[in-house]
């Protein structure tokens, strides 16, 4: 009992220390998704792109670009495309392996996205498609960090000025023609580095960043909608 309590306390203390050290001492997974729409309840994720930031630098070799080329298979599309049960199984397996991979990589990292609510919403719904172990993590939103910064400086930013492109432009970052998930994840990672370099003249702690534009999220599979168990009609 005491041992367990001590373990919890150490874990809590470790996390607290992580949070007050300079931001570079944490690892970050910068994520972008390509989706069929903006509503996680209706739309699907088509592809995922991410890159890691370690020791305050983007580790280009860690970049990943994965396609989830399965829009949800419903009865109608089975009818049209003659998708068999085997296909569905195969699809599900690939889906599951991508998610397990992502979960493995996200562990112990801080998730970063530009307009994080969208990515978080889709991650939550992805977690419902497969039985997955729960995962708790910190997240940062570069858009929210940007809004806080501009509000503090009392700058007026025009409508649309918080989209990724205009935000990058304000830091003199190059324009990228592509807009796939990987390019946008890279672009977001660069934006985060720029924001950190301009953060009140010294390196902020993760704690300070979480207060400015971030939070904590728990991803878990809701037992009720596990695919194996059909809801009674």
């Amino acid at each position: 009992m005491v041992k367990q309590w001590l373990k919890h306390w150490q874990h809590w203390r470790g996390q607290r220390e992580d949070k007050i050290r300079p931001w570079q001492e944490n690892s970050y997974l910068v994520l972008d998704m390509e989706t069929t729409g903006l509503d996680p309840k209706q739309h699907q994720v088509i592809s995922l792109g991410w890159v890691l930031i370690e020791n305050g630098a983007i580790q280009l070799d860690t970049a990943q670009h994965l396609l989830l080329d399965s829009a949800e298979i419903d009865d109608e599309s089975v009818g049209i495309h003659m998708i068999t049960d085997a296909d569905v199984l195969e699809q599900g397996r690939r889906h599951a392996s991508v998610l397990r991979y992502l979960r493995q990589i996200m562990k112990d990292k801080v998730l970063v996205a530009h307009y994080a609510p969208l990515e978080l919403g889709f991650l939550k719904s992805l977690w419902q498609t497969q039985p997955m172990p729960a995962l708790s993590l910190h997240w940062l939103d570069t858009m929210q960090i940007e809004m806080q910064r501009r509000a503090r400086a009392q700058e007026v930013i025009q409508e649309g000025g918080y989209r990724l492109g205009p935000c990058r432009e304000r830091y003199g970052l190059p324009e990228y023609p592509g807009h796939d998930a990987l390019t946008d994840a890279m672009a977001t990672a660069e934006l985060l580095l720029a924001q950190m370099a301009h953060y009140n003249h010294h390196d902020p702690s993760l704690q300070a960043l979480l207060r400015t534009g971030g939070g904590r999220v728990r991803l878990a599979t809701h037992k009720r909608i596990t695919p194996d168990i059909k809801k009674p009609n």
Binding site: I58, D61, T62, A63, L182, M186, M196
Partner: protein, 621 residues
């Protein structure tokens, strides 16, 4: 996934030399473990430990400074740094300071070293970058000590007054005069919808209103100077001086690219900025009415040149300034000649050759010039030009520009020719192609018109270029003649010094160094479609027309700058100590670092000579 698989990374690497020339496998090897970092303006980059490796700027700007803070190099998108930290554990003590926020790729040291081992071109690229920086480094050390006595290279924005006094075009003369008095200024800008449309000065009020009894109720549009000369805030003080002296004005509005006024520069501002200026000297030259008084004014010339050398003014700019002064002096002497001998009986051009044409004169340069007459003169007209030629050349000599030992001067009947005559002379040099005839004729191929209609000279040059293009033997002979003198570097890379005489154990920077680059540039310049006369412009043009590799051209230009700067410094010291502008240098007086750089400079010239022989003299040996 590897870094090279990221489309944006691959695209950048694939378009940035020297990475673009690597094979895909080498690019992949280099990019393994690459990191992307962001550095903020003003940050000093740490190049120690794992950061002691190759860096490539993706976006931004940095500068490299010596440990004492002297500027060595400025870098921007696609430029690399950190090479010396890998190849030589940064013995140069260089610092990298971020000028603008920068995104920077940081490569793994091991990958870089592996690719350097594997690709010779890649390794050479960095060796060249490094040697050129080392050269600039020694220059940075030198300028640390120089005191900025004259700063013609200061930008206008630093000396202009920003307090603008302006009026609308329909305001009355009276209103404008009142405002000028109130603000105690001698001119007012006439501004319409923020844009500069005119200027009114004290002198205008005097001569265009008071003197002619005009009404003070007139609108400013009636008396202003419309569309006045103006200057960009980024221009140099030198440009403002030239513009003012050309237009004979004393007020120069400073406008941005949209013609919106941002400041004002007056002749008084410029005077305050410097006591002895080229502009002042040119103005004085233009006002003198006799050779005696010109001689007196020109006694300031060496002091002026010494001052220019003492500042960190670029050597090419020093050359332009001296050329502007010599040109003015020549023109003034021609005008005085007219006063002595009457108006010329026909149109003519006064042409200059050699260093004055190339605009790289220095202390103690001599004159090379001639006349081009618009038709064959009769006996009396011949007499006139003989007297005029002698008058100008003797006048130049009186004013400190020595007579030419080879007698290439307008005072020599041999060099007072019609366009036809000059054309034939060039035909002779080009087609005879004997090394001995070329040896003394090469300076004629550097031509510039100082007085008279420039078009006749352009025609002469085009005809000469066309003839050169048809005679490959000529360029071969010129190349062999020009490369007969080798840079003074021995087999074991020691200096070959004068073994006897007055300059025992010394190097002749002019004849053994600079002249060799001038000769190389001339060969390529004559091979180019577009005629250029200055050495650096010729090298640039040759690289543009792909007669010469960009690397060699860049290295030769760097070498030329370095030698020229060294020569000017040496000449200045000799001049101040002995009154003689000797370009001889005793290498034992240089630091070991400087000696090393001078050797690498001579090696660059030798490379250039080899390339020229390969290109122009192959098969004619």
């Amino acid at each position: 996934m590897a870094a090279i698989d990221i489309p944006e990374v691959l695209k950048f690497i694939d378009t940035t030399p020297p990475f673009s020339a690597l094979t895909l496998a080498q690019q992949k090897q280099l990019l393994t473990g690459v990191e992307l970092t962001y550095a903020r303006q003003g940050e000093k980059l740490d190049l120690q430990g794992s950061h002691a490796t190759l860096h490539l700027i993706r976006r931004g700007a940095c500068e490299i400074r010596s440990d004492k803070g002297g500027l060595v190099d400025k870098l921007a998108d696609g430029d690399c740094f950190g090479v010396s930290s890998v190849l030589a554990q940064n013995p140069d003590g260089l610092q990298v300071v971020v000028l603008e926020d920068s995104l920077i790729y940081r490569f793994q040291k091991s990958g870089f070293q592996a690719v350097v081992q594997e690709s010779e071109d890649f390794a050479l690229f960095f060796a060249h970058t490094r040697s050129s920086r080392i050269r600039k480094l020694s220059r940075a050390h030198a300028t640390d000590l120089a005191t900025p006595a004259l700063q013609l290279s200061t930008s206008i924005s630093q000396i202009m007054s920003r307090e603008l006094v302006s009026a609308a075009p329909n305001e009355s003369v009276q209103q404008a005069a009142a405002r000028m008095t109130e603000h105690r200024v001698s001119s007012i800008l006439v501004v319409d919808q923020q844009r500069l449309v005119g200027i009114v000065t004290d002198r205008d009020l005097r001569s265009r209103v008071l003197a002619v009894g005009a009404s003070s109720e007139l609108p400013l549009t009636d008396i202003m100077t419309a569309n006045p000369a103006s200057i960009d805030p980024r221009s140099l003080v030198m440009h403002a001086q030239t513009l003012m002296s050309e237009r004979n004005i004393h007020h120069l509005p400073v406008v941005d690219t949209d013609q919106i006024p941002v400041g004002m520069v007056t002749a008084a501002d410029l005077l305050r900025h410097q006591e002895l200026s080229p502009l002042l000297l040119i103005n004085q030259i233009n006002r003198q009415t006799s050779v005696d008084s010109l001689r007196e004014v020109c006694q300031q010339l060496p002091t002026l040149i010494v001052n220019l050398i003492l500042t960190d003014m670029k050597t090419t700019d020093i050359g332009s300034v001296i050329a502007a002064i010599s040109d003015s002096l020549t023109r003034r002497l021609i005008e005085l000649g007219f006063e002595h001998y009457g108006e010329p009986p026909m149109a003519f051009q006064f042409i200059v050759f050699g260093s004055q044409a190339r605009k790289d004169q220095s202390l103690g340069s001599d004159q090379d010039n001639g006349l081009m007459l618009s038709r064959t003169p009769n006996a009396e007209e011949s007499q006139y030009f003989a007297k005029l030629g002698a008058f100008v050349c003797e006048g130049l000599a009186e004013c400190g520009i020595r007579t030419c030992p080879g007698d290439i001067m307008a005072s020599n009947a041999k060099w007072r020719l019609t366009q036809q005559g000059w054309s034939e002379a060039f035909a002779h040099w080009i087609e005879a192609s004997s090394p001995s005839s070329l040896l003394n004729a090469s300076i004629f191929f550097d031509i510039r018109c100082v007085y008279g209609d420039d078009r006749a000279i352009s025609d002469l040059i085009s005809a000469m270029q066309a003839r050169v293009a048809k005679s490959s033997l000529f360029l071969a002979t010129l190349t062999r003649t020009a490369t007969a003198t080798k840079p003074p570097l021995g087999f074991f890379r020691n200096f070959l010094l004068e073994s006897s005489g007055e300059h025992k154990h010394q190097l002749d920077l002019k004849h053994q160094g600079l002249a060799l680059i001038n000769d190389l540039a001339r060969i390529y310049g004559l091979g180019c479609k577009q005629y250029r006369v200055s050495t650096k412009e010729r090298l640039e043009q040759a690289a543009r027309e792909r007669l010469m590799s960009a690397d060699i051209a860049r290295n030769l230009m760097d070498a030329w700058d370095e030698l020229n700067e060294l020569r000017l410094q040496v000449q200045r010291q000799h001049w101040q100590n002995t009154g003689k502008p000797s370009a001889y240098l005793d290498p034992s007086k240089l630091s070991s670092l400087e000696r090393k750089h001078l050797k690498s400079t001579f090696a660059i010239i030798a490379d250039g000579q080899t390339a020229a022989l390969q290109r122009y003299a192959r098969g004619y040996a």
